[in-house]
C-alpha cells in the first residue's frame, strides 16, 4: 500500500508539473477543448486513484471538479472566469494535499468546502487568493526513488550492448594471440564477469513483472465493489509475465479503467444476478500471458455484457451520429461504438465511472504502444476484453536453430518439443502425396523444411535430422532444421516494415555474437508453407492415435485423486471435467454437495478437501442424474486394458488395472451413482396431493415425513401431473373425483377406524408406502 501511495504521489506531482503549462493556457483560453480535456483527465485520474488509496478529501475535491468539467465538456456550463478560477484553486489544493501526504504533515481542511462551493458559482474566489500556496508550511519530503525517462534507460541499454560487443572483440583478439599474457587474460575474465552482471541489472531496469500492475487490483476491486453494493470475486493469473517497464506504465490507467468499468457497468447487483439465474458473486478474471510475439492481458467478467442496442440509442440521443447510419452497422461495428468519445450507457453518473472517459482513452493509450484491444461480447453472460501488446522490447526466451549457415531464433513458448529423427523408430518422415509428413509417436504432423521455405537450401536434401515441433492456434507442425544450437534470452526489437512484410518474422535481435538474427513467427511460417489448421484436423489427430489395433479400445481418464492415488474412470461416463472453487462445496444434509450452474449435485470424494483453493470436478452423468467426483487434477487419456482385477469389497473402487508398469485403481461408476443418489431424489416423481382445510398444516408438519416416504408434496396438481396419493382430514367433505387413493387423517387417536391419527408416523408412512404399491386403502 505504501508503494502505491508513493507511486501515486510521484505520479500526481509529475502530472501537476506537466499540467501547469496547460492550466495557464486554459486560463488564457477557456474555450480550448484540448486543455480542458487534459485537466479533466488529471482530476479523473486523481479521483480514480483516491478511491482505492482511501484519500477521501482528495476524492471529494477531484469528484467535484470533475463534475463541473464534465458539465463544461457537454456544454451545460460555460467556462467563465469564476469557474476557471474555482477549478484551478482545486487543482492547486490537490497539489498541496499531495505534498502534505508525502511529508506526513497535517493540513487543515478549512476552506475546502468553500473551494467546492465556488465551483457552482455561489461563491467567487478572487484569482489571487489561490495562487499563493504555503511554501513555508509544506516542505517536500526527500524521495526514496528516482523517476527516469525510458529514453535514458534505452541509452543505457544500447551502451551496454556496445560494451558487450567490445568485450567480445577483445576476447577474440586475445584468442588469436599465440602467446597471451595470463595477466591480461585474468583481467578480461574479470571484465567479462562485471559486464555480464551489469547487463543483467540494466536489463532488469527495463523489465518488470506484470504483478506490479496486478497487485493493486484486489484492493481496488474490493473497494469499488463495496461502494457499488456488489460482491465480486477476482482471480488473477499470470502475474509473473514480464513486460517492459514503459508498457507497464502505459497499461496502468487502461487497466484500472477497464476493471472499474467491468464492476460498474458489467457485473450486476446481487438482486439482478439472482433474477438472471446467476450466482450472486460476480466474477472477474484478469490474466496475462505471452502468446507468440504478443503479451495478452485478458479481462473476463460474467456480468451483463454490452447492450449494443442501448449504445446505439445513446449515441442517437447524444446526436453524435445519425440513427440511419448506426442502424446499418454490423453487430461488431456496433460493439466498437463503445470506443466513441463521450459515451456512457450508465443512466446515472457515479463516483466510480460513467463519465465517458474510459474506453476511448483506453484505446488511445493502448494503440500508442502499438497494441490493440478486442472485445468478445456475450449479452447477458459477460464480456471479455483482450488487450494485445507487442512483445517488442520484451525479453523472450528463444531456441536458436541453424539452417545452412544462418541462424534463426524460435520463440520457446511456441515450441512443444524437439526430436531427433535418428532416435529409434519414434519419429518417421513420409510423403503424403507430395506433402512431407512427420509421424512422432503416432501423431501425424505437417512438416516443412525451414531452409526450403526460406529459400536457403540449395540442394534438395531429404536427410532430415532434427525436428522442432511447434504449436500454433488450431494445431501443430514440425519444422526441419539443420541444427539446434542454443537457448538464449534475447531482447527482441521491432523489425522494419520491409522485413515484416515477409510475414514470417516476429522481430529481430542482436545477440552477443554481434550478428543480427531474425525471430521466426511460427504462425506466419505455417501460413507461408500453406498449412491450414482447423478443429477437424485436431480431432483427426486423436483418432489416429487411438486406432492402433483392431480391438476397439475403451478410453479412460487418468487422474490424480485427492488422496494422492492415481485412478482412472471410463471416458464415456464423463460429462465433463471442470475446475471449481472450493467454496462451492458444502457439507449439507449429511453429504458433500457442489453448487454449480445454479443447482446442486451430490459430490463424491476420496480424500480431504482441506488446504485446497481449487479442485477439479469430474461430472458424471447416467442420462438422468448427475453426480460429481472431486479430483486434484486430470492427468491423461489412456486406453483401458481388457483385464481388471476386481476389488475385494464393493466400494468406490471397482478394481485394479495395469497401465504400463503401474497399478491403477478404476472407479466403480455404478457404485458411485448407487451411493450418491438420494432415494428421495430418485423417486420424486410420485406426487402427494394435500387437500382440505388443513392443507397448510400438512405442508408444514407432514412434508418432511411424506418426502421421506418418497413423495413430493403439492397443494394443487399442475397440468399433466398425476398424484399417487391424496391426503385429507377425516372431517373434510369427501370429494367426488379423487385423482388418487385417499389417505384420511384424524385429529384424535380414537377417530374413525379407517382414518390415521395424524401423529401416528409409523402408520402414515406405512399407508403412503402402500399407496406406491397400489395397495392403498
Amino acid at each position: 500500500m505504501d508503494d502505491l501511495l508513493q507511486e501515486f504521489i510521484a505520479e500526481t506531482r509529475e502530472t501537476l508539473e506537466a499540467l501547469s503549462g496547460e492550466i495557464v493556457a486554459w486560463e488564457a483560453d477557456p474555450a480550448n477543448r484540448d486543455r480542458l480535456d487534459a485537466i479533466f483527465r488529471f482530476v479523473h485520474t486523481v479521483k480514480g486513484s483516491c478511491g482505492f488509496l482511501e484519500l477521501p478529501r482528495l476524492e471529494r475535491l477531484s469528484h467535484a471538479a470533475e463534475d463541473v468539467l464534465s458539465a463544461v465538456r457537454t456544454g451545460e456550463r460555460i467556462p467563465d472566469r469564476p469557474l476557471v478560477n474555482a477549478v484551478l484553486a482545486i487543482v492547486d489544493r490537490i497539489g498541496e494535499i499531495v505534498e502534505a501526504i508525502d511529508s506526513g504533515q497535517a493540513l487543515g481542511d478549512s476552506g475546502e468546502d468553500l473551494l467546492i462551493a465556488a465551483l457552482d458559482g455561489s461563491v467567487e474566489i478572487a484569482s489571487d487568493t489561490f495562487v499563493a500556496p504555503h511554501p513555508t508550511t509544506i516542505s517536500r519530503a526527500t524521495t526514496r526513488s528516482v523517476r527516469l525517462s525510458v529514453d535514458l534507460l534505452d541509452r543505457m541499454m544500447s551502451g551496454m550492448s556496445d560494451m558487450v560487443l567490445a568485450r567480445n572483440e577483445l576476447a577474440r583478439r586475445l584468442r588469436d594471440d599465440s602467446d597471451p599474457d595470463p595477466l591480461v587474460e585474468a583481467s578480461l575474465e574479470r571484465l567479462s564477469l562485471t559486464v555480464a552482471e551489469m547487463r543483467d541489472t540494466v536489463t532488469r531496469t527495463r523489465m518488470q513483472k506484470i504483478d506490479a500492475l496486478f497487485s493493486a487490483l484486489p484492493r481496488m476491486v474490493r473497494d469499488t465493489a463495496a461502494s457499488l453494493g456488489k460482491s465480486v470475486s477476482l482471480s488473477i493469473e499470470g502475474a509473473d509475465v514480464e513486460l517492459d517497464r514503459e508498457m507497464i506504465e502505459m497499461m496502468r490507467d487502461p487497466l484500472s479503467h477497464i476493471v472499474r468499468n467491468a464492476l460498474d457497468h458489467g457485473i450486476e447487483t446481487p438482486a439482478e444476478r439472482r433474477a438472471a439465474g446467476k450466482r450472486e458473486n460476480g466474477r472477474l478474471t484478469v490474466s496475462a500471458r505471452q502468446s507468440g510475439n504478443q503479451i495478452i492481458i485478458e479481462f473476463q467478467d460474467d456480468g451483463r455484457g454490452i447492450d449494443t442496442a442501448k449504445l446505439v440509442r445513446r449515441l442517437v440521443e447524444n446526436g453524435a451520429r445519425s440513427e440511419r447510419e448506426l442502424r446499418e452497422l454490423t453487430e461488431r461495428q456496433r460493439l466498437d461504438l463503445v470506443f466513441e468519445p463521450g459515451l456512457t450507457t450508465k443512466d446515472e453518473v457515479t463516483s466510480v465511472s460513467g463519465r465517458g472517459v474510459g474506453m476511448d482513452v483506453v484505446r488511445a493509450n493502448i494503440e500508442q504502444i502499438g497494441g490493440r484491444i478486442e472485445l468478445a461480447n456475450s449479452p447477458g453472460r459477460g464480456l471479455r476484453i483482450a488487450i494485445h501488446v507487442p512483445l517488442t522490447l520484451s525479453i523472450i526466451s528463444t531456441i536458436v536453430v541453424g539452417v545452412g549457415d544462418q541462424r534463426f531464433a524460435v520463440p520457446r513458448q511456441a515450441i512443444e518439443e524437439i526430436v531427433t529423427v535418428r532416435a529409434a523408430g519414434a519419429v518417421r518422415i513420409d510423403r503424403l502425396g507430395d506433402a512431407p509428413i512427420a509421424t512422432v509417436r503416432d501423431r501425424r504432423l505437417p512438416l516443412l523444411a525451414l531452409g526450403e521455405v526460406l529459400g536457403l537450401a540449395d540442394d534438395h536434401d531429404d536427410q532430415v535430422e532434427t525436428l522442432v515441433i511447434v504449436g500454433v492456434s488450431g494445431g501443430a507442425y514440425a519444422i526441419a532444421v539443420d541444427s539446434v544450437l542454443d537457448n538464449e534470452e534475447l531482447v527482441i526489437k521491432p523489425a522494419p516494415p520491409a522485413v515484416m512484410a515477409t510475414g514470417v518474422y516476429a522481430g529481430l535481435t542482436l545477440p552477443d555474437s554481434g550478428t543480427p538474427m531474425l525471430l521466426i513467427d511460427c504462425a506466419g511460417l505455417a501460413d507461408a508453407a500453406g498449412f491450414v489448421f482447423s478443429r477437424d484436423l485436431a480431432a483427426n489427430d486423436d483418432e489416429a492415435g487411438g486406432k492402433a489395433e483392431g480391438v476397439p479400445n475403451q478410453p479412460a481418464l487418468l487422474f490424480l485423486d485427492l488422496d494422492g492415488a492415481r485412478r482412472v474412470v471410463p471416458l464415456a461416463a464423463i460429462d465433463r471435467v471442470e475446475p471449481v472453487a472450493i467454496d462451492a462445496i458444502h457439507h449439507t444434509g449429511g453429504r458433500l454437495r457442489l453448487s454449480i450452474d445454479g443447482g446442486m449435485i451430490p459430490l463424491a470424494a476420496q480424500g480431504g478437501l482441506d488446504r485446497r483453493h481449487e479442485i477439479h470436478i469430474i461430472r458424471l452423468r447416467d442420462g438422468t442424474h448427475e453426480i460429481g467426483y472431486a479430483i486434484a487434477e486430470a492427468l491423461d487419456i489412456v486406453d483401458l486394458p481388457l483385464a481388471m482385477v476386481a476389488a475385494r469389497e464393493a466400494g468406490p473402487v471397482a478394481g485394479v488395472i495395469a497401465i504400463g508398469d503401474d497399478q491403477i485403481e478404476m472407479l466403480d461408476v455404478h457404485w458411485l451413482f448407487a451411493d450418491q443418489i438420494d432415494a428421495a431424489v430418485s423417486q420424486r416423481d410420485a406426487l402427494c396431493l394435500v387437500t382440505g382445510r388443513e392443507a397448510a398444516w400438512m405442508t408444514t408438519f407432514l412434508r418432511p415425513v411424506v418426502e421421506r416416504a418418497g413423495y413430493r408434496v403439492v397443494t394443487s396438481l399442475g397440468p399433466g401431473e398425476v398424484a399417487a396419493a391424496v391426503l385429507a382430514m377425516d372431517d373434510d367433505p369427501p370429494s367426488e373425483h379423487l385423482p388418487a387413493p385417499l389417505v384420511r387423517l384424524s385429529r384424535r387417536r380414537d377417530g374413525e377406524p379407517d382414518a390415521i391419527y395424524r401423529y401416528d408416523r409409523e402408520r402414515l408412512l406405512g399407508a403412503l408406502a402402500a399407496c406406491r404399491t397400489e395397495a392403498c386403502a
Partner: protein, 142 residues
C-alpha cells in the same frame, strides 16, 4: 536557394542526397540476409548496438549492381528504423543550388520514383534522390 547535399555514387552514377537525410556514412560489416524479403532488402547488419536494414540502392534504382564491392553505406533513419543505403562511394558535402527536374526528360521507372530535383555538380547535372523512396514497404511519403 542553396541546400547542403552529399554527393554519392550509386550504380555508377553520381547522385545527390539531401544532407538532412544523412545521419552518417559508414562501412558495413557482415550482412545477414533476410529470406523471403523484397530483393531491395540486402539484409541486416549490426552497427554498434543497433541493427540496420541494408538496402541495395542499385536494385532499387533498377541499375546493374557492382557485385559485393559496395560496402559503404549512408545511414538514414526513417519512421524510427535505421536504414543503410549501399553506395559505391561518397565524394563530399557541399551547398548546391536546387533546380527543378529538367522538363521533358524521360527517366526510367526506378529513377522516376526517387528523383526530386536536379543540382549541378562540377559542371555536370546530378539527380537529387529521396532515400525514403528507395525503401520498400513504407507508407507513401507524407
Amino acid at each position: 536557394m542553396t541546400e547542403l547535399f552529399l554527393i554519392a555514387e550509386i550504380g555508377g552514377r553520381a547522385v545527390a542526397i539531401a544532407a538532412d537525410q544523412v545521419e552518417s556514412v559508414v562501412d558495413i560489416g557482415v550482412v545477414t540476409p533476410v529470406p523471403r524479403a523484397d530483393p531491395r532488402v540486402k539484409g541486416l547488419a549490426a552497427l554498434r548496438s543497433r541493427v540496420v536494414t541494408v538496402i541495395n540502392s542499385c536494385v532499387a534504382l533498377g541499375l546493374p549492381c557492382p557485385g559485393d564491392a559496395a560496402r559503404r553505406a549512408v545511414i538514414t533513419p526513417i519512421d524510427g528504423h535505421p536504414y543503410a543505403m549501399l553506395v559505391e562511394g561518397v565524394e563530399d558535402v557541399a551547398a548546391y543550388e536546387v533546380q527543378p527536374l529538367t522538363s521533358g526528360v524521360a527517366l526510367s521507372a526506378g529513377w522516376k520514383s526517387v528523383a526530386t530535383s536536379v543540382i549541378e555538380h562540377r559542371g555536370e547535372p546530378a539527380l537529387v534522390v529521396d532515400l525514403r523512396a528507395l525503401v520498400p514497404g513504407l507508407a507513401a511519403a507524407a
